[in-house]
């Protein structure tokens, strides 16, 4: 456990020069939220953007490792590949969750500030889970891609992969003539009490797990 902690400290310290950017990012989105805060959908944008922002922000740690070609050096420590990967996934997942939580907090602040309506925690939580789910798909694709092709090429492959997914979903939607699949997120308030959030959480966990397995295979064969 100590080793994973050490690796996490490494990533967090490596990212310290990024903290400023992140804070600016948060402030900008909050300001946008406050100024435009009368419309009901702003919480969704804020939570989604902060979840995305935090998640992507930790991806920079792969860049730093790559620049320093740290792989070999790190593997000379008393640890195994598993621990290296687990630490990365913990970093990315916790940053994503923290992003969602920060998003909820800011949404509440905006809601109270604009006095539009008293925050509905259920809705915010639902939006947060939905955001984490969406972002987890991107991350789950991106991490193995980075291990396979490096951060530069990996990013391109990620974009291609995500575009493909959207095309497939879009195609399916057209085929089924049921556009509500894509825009079902608009139906949020009605679905709050359903089993969907739990289902999404399980699905998110599964997505990360599959991604981890892929990364492990890729890393091992290097």
């Amino acid at each position: 456990m100590n080793i994973i902690k050490g690796l996490l400290i490494k990533d967090i310290l490596q990212l310290k020069s990024y903290w400023k950017t992140t804070i600016i990012y948060i402030v900008v989105f909050t300001l946008i939220g406050i100024t435009q805060g009368t419309s009901g959908g702003v919480e969704m944008v804020i939570i989604l953007m902060l979840t995305l922002g935090f998640g992507m922000f930790t991806m920079a740690s792969f860049n730093y490792d790559e620049q320093a070609k740290a792989d070999s050096y790190i593997l000379s420590f008393p640890l195994d590949i598993k621990q290296v990967l687990v630490s990365k996934y913990i970093l990315v997942i916790s940053a994503t969750v923290i992003g969602a939580i920060v998003g909820i907090i800011f949404s509440i602040i905006i809601d109270i500030n604009t006095k539009a309506f008293f925050p509905d925690f259920g809705v915010l939580l639902y939006v947060a889970i939905g955001s984490i789910f969406c972002i987890s798909i991107i991350e789950a694709i991106q991490i193995p891609c980075i291990y396979k092709w490096g951060s530069e090429k990996g990013r391109i492959h990620t974009i291609i992969a995500i575009a493909l997914i959207f095309l497939i979903i879009g195609g399916l939607a057209i085929i089924s003539q049921n556009n509500s699949i894509i825009f079902s997120i608009n139906a949020v308030p009605n679905a709050v009490d359903s089993f969907l959030p739990i289902f999404l959480i399980i699905l998110t966990a599964l997505i990360y797990y599959t991604s981890y397995k892929f990364s492990y295979k890729i890393y091992e064969s290097k």
Partner: protein, 289 residues
Amino acid sequence: MANNNKNILEVKNLNKEYNSFKLKDINLSLPKGMIMGLIGENGAGKTTTIKSILNLTSIDSGEINIFGMDMKEEAKKIKEDIGVVLDDSFLSEHLTPKDINQIMKNIYSNWDEDLFLEYLKDFKLPLKQESKDFSSGMKVKLKIAIAISHYPKLLILDEPTSGLDPVARSEILDIFQDFIQDGESSILVSSHITSDLEHIADYITFINDGKILLSKTRDELLEQFGIVRCSKEDFEKIDENDYEKYKINKYEYDVLVSNKKEFKRKYDFKVIDKPTLDDIMLIYIKGEK
């Protein structure tokens, strides 16, 4: 294996092939308290050998034994007691020595924070400065300070002195000799700058084209080997079994002999020079037999 107790590191029949490069039957043994220099041209296989020993890259066949344990089975346990300096791989340059201390505290159970800070002071390295602002000499010293602050019994360094000025190189050789003072710890160090290792290395292993050409004690190699400089006619008088290799120069033949005393007894040649490691390398690589 009881008979291995004296050797800290043993490599047996290591083979590895990747792309067009091949490591062929690498055998090494490094006793306690000794320094082994791994020398060879760039691309001869030094880094691959070191990475194979450290299990950083897969090997096709062979056995790596460190502290009497098999690297395949006890990698984590072994790595607790190894300090590593790699030429082409390190932590992000955005980290300060202070950051690195925070990290390493969690990585090595034997990490000694005070010792690390002391080394930083000795090596005149600033605690709170990102290492990207360090000179190359400072960077190497930082890497070495990290590598020795958890009391490793084996230090493995890949090209630690390349790109350094003579003063920094000499300081680093001092650190090495300090490290082996206890008589228990050993160093495996690769370099293409042979003069660094010529004096302080106890063993010299010479690798070329993925094969080990020589692995001998420094004294055997530098005090017993000789270079006979002679004319073509004289060269033709030499029995083929009495020399290792020869190289034809414009005005003379350079003949590498492995036992100059013996050679002197047998032949009456005037000029037998004491070779440097570079001379030996050169004749081995460029010479004929």
